[in-house]
Amino acid sequence: MAAVNAELRFEHVSFSYGTVPALRDVSFALAPGERAALLGRNGAGKSTLLRLVTGLLHPAEGSVSVGDWETRGRPPESLARRVGSVFQHADQQLFARSLRDDVAFGPRALGHGAAEVARRVDTALAALELSAQAAEHPYDLPPAFRKLATLAGALALEPAVLVLDEPTAGLDRPLRARVARALADRAAAGVVVLVATHDLAFAAEVLERGLVLDRGRLAGDAPLAALLTSSGRLAPLGLAPPTGAALSAALDLPGRPVRQRDVANTLARVAAARGPV
């Protein structure tokens, strides 16, 4: 399943809603397989940045490109070949009688044949362990599953870039883990994953780089682990280190791991060295 690999690049991008500036001179690049968290207060420009990637908005200055495609002049339905997106309250876009039909909407709209559509739908549903609910009516499922369905719909586009806005809002821990696995799997296959989120525990598990927006400017671009263990850099964003990172700092674990598995392994190693607790 050769997803076309493409880099996501912002070059000096500025955008304003009327006279109100939303993004000011933002530049960064995400190589295929990179997984970034987009952090910042509400109103810092996160949603605007994600909408610029999908082509719903086009930059006033500078350029946004997905591989060799510049988004300027391309409508969202054309960029959908390379960019999969899930915005907030996305479950309100569902309308098919079964989960399978809804996930198939994207591939069909892109003009793929029945066999290719079926393959993509099965793969996307399997990636989020939704195959058992494929025949269910989306509105008969709990809201959390409808949210997963919209993510499956984006995965079914088999895009080169995935942009997600708060994908874990309203999900419980096992479902958050499913989303983490699916995104890690896509990134391993070369997809660029960009996630705007407040859920730092989720970010710690699956994302590796942190882009910080503050009042429309790119205030920070650093490895996520460094960001997550520094309450000094998170506090101005109204954020605090997730529990795993906080534990790692509190117990002064070497290397300051942030992923739960890594924190547990480091803890076990250090405990063994110290003798029984």
């Binding site: 309308f95 009688r97 008969d140």
Partner: protein, 189 residues
């Protein structure tokens, strides 16, 4: 009147007016502002339908000051949709679209005298131009006015009925079972 049905009416009315965003996206000359009226009737009967229609007109008037005389058309649409629902015409597009066309004729026939008396057949630019075309074709004033309203209305009502049909069929079992008339409207009662 249960709170649930009471909530349906303003929701259906507001939804009708919000559909203009979808119609604008595909640039089709449709109003769809009776969708809520037809849907409320098909789900909860004529009472809910008429209330939705009147409410749609009242709220719509604030955006288009010239639309309130057509509250009569909304009531006619609700009554017509009641008959269609009782006959289960929403069971498939094959029965719903012709019913919608029938409503298009009836709606045009109802709005023509209003348009003629109140607006002199200039309700909207479109209607005025088609009326002028009618006059050019030698139709008498009222006939030309009917021709103007008909061209605007018949497509809109047919699409409205088709849309309500696909909504009723897309409804999940649990939601459909909760509305008294939904199953009868699709001929499944």
């Amino acid at each position: 009147m249960s709170v649930r049905l009471l909530v349906l009416i303003p929701a259906a009315a507001a939804m009708s007016l919000a559909l203009s965003a979808a119609v604008d996206a595909v640039a089709l000359p449709l109003f769809l502002d009776t969708t809520g009226t037809v849907l409320a009737t098909a789900l909860a009967g004529p009472g809910a339908g008429i209330a939705t229609g009147v409410l749609t007109s009242a709220v719509n008037t604030l955006r288009n000051p010239t639309f309130w005389p057509f509250v009569v058309v909304q009531v006619i649409v609700a009554l017509y949709a009641w008959l269609a629902a009782r006959a289960g015409l929403f069971r498939s597009l094959r029965t719903a679209v012709p019913a919608g066309l029938g409503l298009g004729v009836l709606a045009a026939a109802t709005s023509t005298p209003i348009s003629y008396v109140v607006f002199g057949c200039t309700t909207t630019g479109g209607i005025a131009l088609t009326t002028a075309l009618g006059r050019a074709l030698g139709l008498p004033p009222l006939g030309a006015c009917f021709f103007g309203s008909f061209v605007a209305d018949f497509g809109d009502k047919a699409v409205t009925f088709a849309l309500v049909t696909s909504v009723l069929h897309a409804l999940p079992r649990r939601t459909a079972a909760r509305f008294p008339w939904a199953l009868r409207a699709v001929g499944a009662a």
